[in-house]
Symmetry: C2
Subunit: 161 residues, 2 copies
């Protein structure tokens, strides 16, 4: 499975890779730092609440939510449990199906509304204040390309072989 000569990265790829690794390490940390400090929750928890707040009827099937949030169902389930304990979300079985909804409560909605401005401000400062319009478009395009490749390669045998 691995007897072939390894395809090393060329200089240009090395450089791109190092910055990408730095980015995927530091950006999440920075987002969490702000959200913990100002709202006493993780960025991921905020993201889940935000997704629910945008969903029709402020509810989403757990599996669908996990998908949108880029998380495993297990991770999501734990998070929903925590958010439920805080009174921001509740579970609701779906009649003709074996699934459940995660439903944003009124206090939960209030919490997102409260947290959103600080979050958005942080996103501006951490990212967009350093980019002009053209760079934003480039980011969206290149990001989409990267995501596509990621999904493709993961679909084709998760990870390696």
């Amino acid at each position: 499975m691995s007897s072939e000569a390894p395809r090393w990265l060329d200089a240009s790829q090395q450089q791109a890779w190092r910055t990408l690794v730095a980015l995927i390490t530091r950006l999440p940390a920075a987002l969490d730092t702000q959200m913990q400090r100002d709202e006493d929750m993780t960025h991921f928890e905020y993201f889940v609440l935000a997704l629910l707040s945008e969903a029709p009827d402020r509810r989403l099937r757990l599996s669908a939510l996990a998908d949108e949030a880029n998380a495993s169902l297990s991770r999501l389930s734990h998070v929903i449990t925590r958010l439920t304990k805080r009174g921001w979300v509740c579970r609701e079985p779906i009649p003709g199906s074996r699934g459940s909804y995660a439903v944003l409560t009124e206090p939960g909605y209030a919490k997102v509304v409260d947290a959103a401005p600080g979050h958005v401000e942080t996103v501006h400062r951490l990212v967009f204040d350093g980019l002009d319009d053209s760079e934003v478009r480039t980011l969206a395009t290149l990001g989409a390309t990267l995501l596509t490749q990621l999904d493709t390669s993961i679909a084709a045998g998760t990870g390696k072989a």
Copy 2:
């Protein structure tokens, strides 16, 4: 501190942001999945070993290593402890200073050499196989811009205010 009207994201920024969030969530997960499966360690542990293997005399001051690895000193210290237990790294006090070196052992070097091909192959599959040369350059450039903005904004009052 937050009585001003929030600067919301415009449509273009929204789109860029969502893909960026997906990226910083999924890419680390994919890297960890491969490294766990094939080498029984985290991507971060591999990264630390790799940094040491490239350093002069295969050693680096802990604070310097933390910096290069984009990690807190605390996180690094825990990781070095784990790697030490595995026999891949050892600590060594620095004579004229209150610091310590993390030193890659011979087995540690062997481990990186062993793990590198699979890792690089994964990086190709997850990322570079989806990019042409021009896109790689764009990624490096844009990534550098993002990192600069990140560092700048973090330096100017960590996170929010």
